[in-house]
């Protein structure tokens, strides 16, 4: 058994032991400890232009709504 799986198994045991004690909707302030990430609009495509990015996404969202093409009043 690989090491990572053993860790998972151990974690499972801990979880069972602590069953019911962890509040899964906890609002505890946790602080992200990892690397910083860039904003979606900050990539090379939009160069930080959030408005343009939002407009592009909004247009893209509408491609999921075929009513815009089938329910056109002619």
């Amino acid at each position: 058994m690989s090491r990572s799986l053993m860790v998972v198994a151990a974690a499972a045991a801990v979880m069972l032991a602590a069953c019911g004690e962890i509040d899964q909707t906890a609002k505890t302030e946790k602080v992200y400890a990892g690397k910083k990430d860039a904003r979606a609009a900050d990539g090379s495509q939009f160069g930080g232009d959030k408005k343009k990015w939002e407009a592009t996404l909004a247009q893209r969202s509408n491609a999921q709504n075929e009513y815009l093409r089938t329910d056109v009043k002619k």
Binding site: S44, A63, E66, Y67, R69, T70, V72
Partner: protein, 974 residues
């Protein structure tokens, strides 16, 4: 169906890595580097190469600055079914790196099923056949293309010389594009035989024959899109949610807008799960059910009497027959559906018009398939639903180009465009091909053989195995060329293996080795030639709705593969008719060559020049390409472009066109016919895509008028009653001859609208007079030239009901039917009581993740992961009676004595007494994995038992369609 979905695999991924970004800042890899790496993978041991790695190997290092690749978008169309979903392929340095949805497409609006969403794997194809191979001492060995063409050519020429051209059987493909399929028919003709066929035989041959003989053309009358205009849809023998998933987008849209949906099927399919009403019938009893509906329609006077009077022949007699035979009690006895359910379906279809009917293999693949589909047509004719938007018979075809290959491809009984094989048809095509008619005739064994339909793909095995004195040609078959066709989609696998072993020569031309490479126990005499997929060449494909879409070439052919039309040319050259294939004679050449590749656009132009019958004449390459660049110009519900949209590249304005110029698109491109979205629609002018039923069966029968009645005609027609098809005589009689130009008159003299190569007759009839070139007649409720003019229920040859066999027996045996003796009664009588030993009905069908024989999709890890084992669906009651537990192995046996080892899927999806096995699997043979019989590294990831190894005898009485949907089996724990 969770049984075969494993959340994770025990197989280890030993390497993984990811390359080739779409962002130019990323490292890139050129095609050569990619192929080199793929080659390395292929060279690894057989086991390692079977591991489903992530598809693209890691780039060794980021490429040196300045070598960033060119990013290109190529527009193509999915090859996995007939819906025709557009795809934008993102290609970098010749490597297909991503795919994006084409929201603009009016057909799929960006949507894909699992197959379409996984299509990019084709651009990598680790499990492909990589180079020509030859079987040497039972092992596949690499050879060069030159050796392959020479050896295969020599062997075929020897067979041709010793046994005649009819000793070779050519199995073509519905996955070829139109140009390749067309060129294949020409190629086979130049070889001198009609022994060719393709998937349509075992797909919708009964539909094409039944529907064309009812009203004119053998095709889906409306479109997937038009289903969004329906008020009620009845699916009978179609599991669209798995077989045509994206079509459901239009149906579910219609349903949301109030349309009713009915599903009639022996299985509670995923399509049924979406229906308002599900009706379970016994497999093979569509006619009792449909006529049971008509019983209520006629009894309640719901039929469209004026429509029937004006546009239908023979309905009175059909009505009499139905009222006499199919009262609710008889219906329930035959198909198991209580009166109330039949009544509800009839009422829904009658009171929610326009209503449409959808059918697929559930209806076509029976010994009485031709009659079943006509029963569906009669229902729609009685309700006046044919020739109207929202109505029609929406016949969903299978492969991406099965409609196109049927229209212009390798059919044993016809030249391209359903011209048939008569002398006149040959002369028409010889002229178009720029090949001397007498030269072609000399290639055939005789003129009689030239005009005699060939054998069908469903029966080629009998062409090998049948006693020579019983077959209707000189020699038995000695060689078989499988050119883009799986063997495991045909029935009687046990006998097929024997036939494969008896042949002198087998050639498999395909992107994958297919089961053909692994099935027979042979030591030699098998060649494998790697063909390119449709993403490695350009060309057009006809979707089920008759719209023709142009695919751009996405990438260069992978490994050593070549496009099918290039292989055809290489073989033709070897056979000595390379020039004839290109139409090179008398200082003229129809089809140019680029290297060894015939120019695809030129092939399409030749199709345009000759295929007048079904209107493949107006779809020039330029018009088709313009449509593909402006998909957003077309309306989703009507498929029409209604504003000025001008293509920059060609200057072509597509205002008025229907998307993909759905055939018939009559006349030459200059006539600018817009294509026909819904066939036989009299509410539109013929130049707007309108029409009426075809006059193809005479003008009168037994004193009854076969032409349309007074006042029934397409909108704006100068002739306001029924009329026959146009020819030079009729044109002259009407005084319209002078409207042809002098050049047209010269070309049209002595011709009819189908053979007038100038298109003048069509132009004048349609444009000047609003008349349909094929005449204006009635549809036929009675197809008197078929074995059962009025569709009759006949029990399957292997029936679970001996009592009903006595009541509804099958046909009498036939001699020399498509060159072969064909048995009905003899086999049925012999197996009258076989259900004692094999009590369960065995039926087959599709899974959404796989297509056809499945080699291609089972080699795609993204799909293969989702369905890892073949299975049999069995009802809990039947399983319990046999001590079978879910997800355990069982043996399925049939009267052929074949046995299949599959997992049991215990489910109420099937009724007690019925079992179901999907047909996409191969690579196991009666419990044994054939992995070591494939060329190294080219076996599909997922292998399993092919249901057709065990299917039984039985063929349609008109088209030789095989019976796959109703046979018998027994299931036992393994």
């Amino acid at each position: 169906m969770l049984l075969t979905r494993k959340p994770s695999s025990a197989q280890k991924t030993t390497t993984a890595g990811f390359v080739a970004r779409t962002n130019s800042a990323l490292g890139t890899m050129d095609r050569r580097a990619f192929l080199r790496r793929s080659g390395m993978v292929a060279g690894a041991g057989a086991f390692a190469s079977q591991l489903p790695f992530s598809m693209i190997r890691k780039a060794e290092a980021a490429a040196a600055p300045g070598t960033e690749g060119k990013m290109e978008i190529k527009r193509t169309v999915c090859t996995h079914c007939s819906v025709g979903c557009a795809i934008d392929a993102v290609v970098q340095n010749g490597v297909w790196v991503r795919q994006e949805p084409v929201f603009d497409s009016p057909i799929n609006l960006g949507a894909h099923c699992s197959k379409g969403a996984a299509i990019r794997e084709h651009g990598h194809g680790e499990h492909r056949l990589k180079y020509p191979m030859k079987l040497v001492n039972g092992k596949y060995t690499r050879i060069s293309w030159e050796t392959a063409i020479n050896e295969i050519g020599d062997k075929l020429l020897k067979i041709r010389k010793e046994s005649g051209p009819d000793a070779v059987y050519w199995v073509g493909s519905s996955k070829h594009n139109n140009e390749q399929a067309y060129l294949m028919r020409k190629f086979v003709s130049l070889f001198g035989t009609n022994n060719c066929d393709h998937q349509a035989r075992i797909c919708h041959s009964t539909t094409v024959a039944g529907v064309a003989n009812t009203w004119g053309y053998g095709a889906m009358t409306n479109s997937y899109n038009d289903m969004s205009n329906t008020k009620c849809a009845m699916y009978i023998g179609s599991n669209a949610a798995e077989a045509h998933p994206v079509s459901m987008l239009h149906m579910l849209n219609a349903k949301e807008h109030g349309a009713r949906m009915i599903v009639v099927d022996p299985r509670f399919t995923r399509t049924a799960a979406k229906a308002d009403q599900y009706i379970r019938i016994r497999s093979g009893t569509d006619i009792p059910f449909l006529f049971g509906m008509l019983y209520h329609i006629f009894s309640n006077g719901w039929e469209d009497k004026k429509y029937i009077n004006d546009r239908v022949y023979g309905m009175e007699k059909v009505k009499e027959d139905i009222l006499k035979k199919w009262n609710p009690k008889a219906v329930e006895e035959a198909c198991g559906v209580p009166e109330a359910e039949v009544y509800a379906a009839a009422e829904a279809m009658a009171k929610n018009r326009p209503s449409t009917i959808v059918w697929c293999m559930g209806q076509t693949q029976h010994t009485i398939g031709n009659a079943m589909v006509r029963a569906s047509c009669i229902l729609q004719l009685a309700l006046g639903n044919v020739g109207t938007s929202g109505g029609g018979t929406n016949i969903f075809r299978g492969h991406d180009n099965v409609q196109g290959a049927t229209d212009v491809g390798p059919n044993p009984d016809s030249l391209p465009g359903y011209y048939g094989l008569a002398t006149g048809s040959w002369k028409h095509w010889a002229k178009v091909w720029n090949v001397d008619y007498d030269w072609i005739k000399a290639q055939y064994a005789s003129q009689a053989m030239m005009e005699k339909p060939g054998m069908t793909v469903s029966r080629w095995i009998d062409g090998v195995l049948e006693k020579n004195e019983l077959i209707d040609q000189e020699s038995n078959l000695k060689a078989c060329i499988y050119w883009g066709h799986a063997p495991n989609s045909q029935t009687r696998g046990l006998e097929m293996k024997t036939a494969m072993e008896k042949l002198d020569l087998m050639v498999i031309i395909d992107p994958y080795p297919t089961a053909s490479a692994a099935m027979p126990d042979r030591q030699e005499g098998v060649y494998l030639l790697p063909a390119a997929t449709q993403f490695e060449c350009a060309g057009s494909a006809t979707a089920s709705n008759r719209s023709i879409q142009w695919r751009e070439k996405v990438i260069e052919p992978l490994f050593e593969s070549k496009p099918d039309h290039t292989i055809m040319y290489l073989l033709a050259k070897k056979f000595g008719f390379g020039d004839q294939l290109l139409g090179k004679a008398n200082g003229k050449q129809n089809i140019a060559l680029k290297g060894d590749e015939p120019v695809v656009e030129d092939i399409l132009r030749e199709i345009n020049a000759g295929t007048w019958t079904i209107g493949y004449t107006g779809q020039s390459p330029e018009r088709l390409k313009a449509h593909m660049r402006h998909m957003d110009a077309f309306d989703v519900k009507t498929l029409r472009c209604t504003t000025d949209v001008v293509d920059k590249e060609t200057g072509y304005n597509m205002n008025g066109d229907y998307f993909g110029l759905p055939w018939p698109c009559y006349g030459n491109a200059a006539l600018k016919h817009p294509g026909s979205p819904n066939l036989y629609d009299t509410s539109k002018h013929v130049m707007e895509g309108g029409g009426n039923f075809r006059a193809n069966f005479g003008v009168e029968r037994e004193g009854v008028n076969l032409l349309a009645e007074d006042g029934s005609h397409s909108k704006g027609a100068d002739i306001t009653t029924g009329y026959p098809e146009f020819d030079h005589v009729l044109m002259k009689k009407l005084g319209w001859w002078s409207e042809l130009t002098e050049a047209e008159q010269k070309a049209a003299e002595g011709k009819n609208w189908k053979t007038d190569l100038s298109g003048g007759i069509i132009r004048v009839a349609m444009k000047n007079h609003g008349c349909h070139p094929f005449g204006n007649a009635k549809a036929r409720a009675i197809v008197w030239n078929f074995p059962d003019g009025i569709p009759q229920h006949r029990e399957p040859i292997y029936s679970p009901r001996p009592d009903l066999v006595a009541k509804y027996p099958t046909h009498a045996d036939k001699n020399a039917f498509w060159r072969l003796p064909t048995l009905y009664k003899t086999v049925q009588d012999k197996n009258k009581d076989v259900s004692k030993e094999y009590p369960l009905v065995l039926t087959s069908g599709r899974l959404v993740e796989y297509e056809g024989g499945g080699e291609e999709t089972r080699s795609n890890p993204w799909l293969a992961e989702l369905q890892q084992e073949n299975f049999v669906e069995i009802n809990p009651k039947d399983a319990e009676a046999r001590g079978i537990k879910n997800a355990t192995f069982v043996w399925v046996t049939t009267p052929t004595k074949a046995k299949l080892k599959v997992k049991a899927l215990v489910t109420e999806r099937v009724a007690s007494g019925t079992t179901f096995i999907p047909f996409h699997f191969s690579g196991w043979w009666q419990g044994k994995d054939l992995l070591d019989k494939y060329p190294e590294g080219a076996a599909p990831i997922v292998r399993g038992e092919a249901v057709n190894t065990a299917t039984t005898y039985g063929y349609d009485s008109v088209t030789m369609m095989q019976e796959t949907k109703t046979t018998l089996c027994q299931v036992a724990a393994a």
